[in-house]
Symmetry: C2
Subunit: 355 residues, 2 copies
């Protein structure tokens, strides 16, 4: 996989102009949603000569528009406005924009240049790095996609001042996951960080850089998820099931909240199978409960949750696959758990989360 440049900066406009000068594209497009067009692009265009000249492509905001219809619209805009194989697409927005824009760029004329400029913490820590691109399809998340890395990812906390607290917490859950799969020191720095403090400051930018580097190291080792990259799925098998269940009930929850709860549930399994320390499990459960609250489930939801876990795209045939931890930073991929044990883990999860 080609080398991807990660830039951590609070001078975003300048970083964009420098990247565009290096790539020397024949023309530049910028993908935004109606929110980032109004609140981010209009401002940045005044400071970036590349963005001032770029042709904007605007899609509706929200995960429900990360679909084939929006993708087709992006392809058409590129096509109708003279995009060549040497054109550049700048994806300026949250995870929906970086995932979908990257997939559009990866497949237009079999691949044009693209840069990701994530504007949410979740996109910065997760979606903008690692080459996973895609759209939702047939009711399933990220069902259609490709592995393709941006040439450059520009990561900045400058956008986070206006993010709702819920958005920040959602991204922070993925940072906690990176802490859990790296080492005790990094993990403890995260638990000690005051997430109610100023999110545009250097403290968060430093933690974010450390967190993104964890992901980058793992992705470089295993770009197409044949092995160790599955470590990044910690919390996500149960987390995705929680997220889908909430969606089915028409009470959607932010992705990061589902992951936060998923982390607790999968560390319960880690405790059962690999003796992940009970004290650390309790600390995390308490932290998540205090900051994220809890998802409202009963044992009547277990069959649906199990079925949703079976549908996860990481699962081969009939087994349910988990990444588990023996301790912080001690990863074991390709673990499987029986349905009975998963139900027991969900019981313990509900106790820990006071449900």
């Amino acid at each position: 996989m080609k080398h991807q440049e990660l830039i951590f900066t609070n001078s975003v406009a300048q970083a964009i102009d420098t990247a565009v000068e290096q790539i020397k594209p024949s023309n530049v497009f910028v993908l935004v949603d109606i929110n980032t067009e109004r609140h981010v692009l209009q401002q940045l265009r005044k400071q970036s000569s590349a963005l001032a000249k770029a042709m904007p492509i605007t899609v509706k905001d929200g995960d429900e528009h990360k679909n084939l219809e929006s993708l087709t619209y992006i392809w058409e805009c590129l096509c109708d406005n003279g995009a060549t194989r040497n054109s550049l697409l700048i994806n300026l927005g949250g995870g929906v924009i970086t995932d979908m824009g990257a997939f559009a760029a990866a497949t237009f004329k079999r691949g044009i240049h693209f840069i990701n400029v994530p504007t949410t913490l979740l996109a910065a820590v997760d979606a903008a790095v690692g080459g996973k691109t895609g759209i939702n399809f047939n009711g399933l998340k990220n069902e259609i996609g490709a592995f393709s890395e941006a040439q450059v990812v520009i990561i900045s906390t400058a956008f986070f001042g206006s993010l709702p607290h819920e958005e920040l917490l959602s991204g922070f859950a993925e940072m906690l996951k990176h802490g859990l799969i790296s080492n005790e020191e990094a993990y403890n720095r995260l638990l000690a960080y005051d997430i109610t403090s100023d999110p545009t400051g250097d403290a968060l930018l430093n933690l974010l850089q450390e967190s993104v580097e964890v992901k980058r190291r793992i992705v470089e080792e295993d770009p197409t998820e044949k092995g160790i990259r599955r470590a990044l799925n910690l919390g996500h098998t149960v987390g995705h099931a929680f997220e889908s269940l909430a969606l089915m009930r028409d009470t959607p929850v932010p992705h990061g909240y589902a992951v936060a709860w998923g982390l607790v549930a999968e560390l319960v399994l880690s405790n059962m199978y690999l003796e992940f320390p009970s004290a650390q499990l309790s600390t995390l459960a308490q932290y998540i409960y205090e900051n994220y609250g809890a998802i409202d489930i009963t044992c009547n939801d277990y069959p649906t949750l199990l079925q949703l876990m079976h549908h996860d795209k990481k699962n081969h045939s009939n087994e349910i696959n988990f990444t588990m931890l023996e301790g912080v930073g001690k990863i074991k991929i390709d673990c499987t758990a029986s349905e009975e044990d998963i139900k027991t883990a969900l019981d313990i999860f509900r106790d820990l989360m006071h449900i």
Copy 2:
């Protein structure tokens, strides 16, 4: 790029079963069009246990159905029939099936296993090897796609007995191109081959193997077409323009015929710019004229043809890019020609082709 296994055999069913045993997929799908379903799959299912158990996905035949609608249908069939990341898609058909099926497989859950079993000479020599996958979009050929190689490509002349003569000639034009970019001996062997003889015999299988190996060597050196792979575009800049012109007139021509004429036109340019030997140019022109006839163009078509060449996806900005030859096997990529010279070349082309 991962290693791709090429198998040249006339025991297709056995080769498929062996490949499936090696891949050990969770389940198997086979993509066919209504022709290959009836004329090829029904027969092969009796001999191949893997195909007998496979779930067929049938699309309409013809390049006009190599589109987003068919692609969406394939994705839906995979989705609705329990395809996992460890499923296998066998693409059994001509270039439409191998290009579109490979793209569907490359993007479903960000990539599942696929095998190509080309059933036409053109697909065997060109489309099934080299990782170029895709669909037509917005009136442009292969506008959306990806680079992704099949795990295994099974190449056989066993299917060619029932191919129309026109189909065989269409594929043979790509073999001539491979001959021209390899060496005099290989090229002369092709000119000496009697294309009216039995196409299922060993003579063609041997020539085909030699030809596919030319392509494979070049693709291995430059999988994503940054340099030498452009050698494979010989004949295609003008050829695609001829093909599109014919389509615009509602008198479509087979792809290989357009390439055959494109080879002559681009060797005229090679003669003008790089002194490609005039005698060899005349020999080829005569050969193409006798076997493929000629496309009906006048100087009134030149502006349209030039515009179509500008639209070719290999062209950056405003230049028209060609691969040219100093002689057989002496490749020069990234040549450019002025519009005036291209018009002159088209005049000479028309003389050579008695138009």
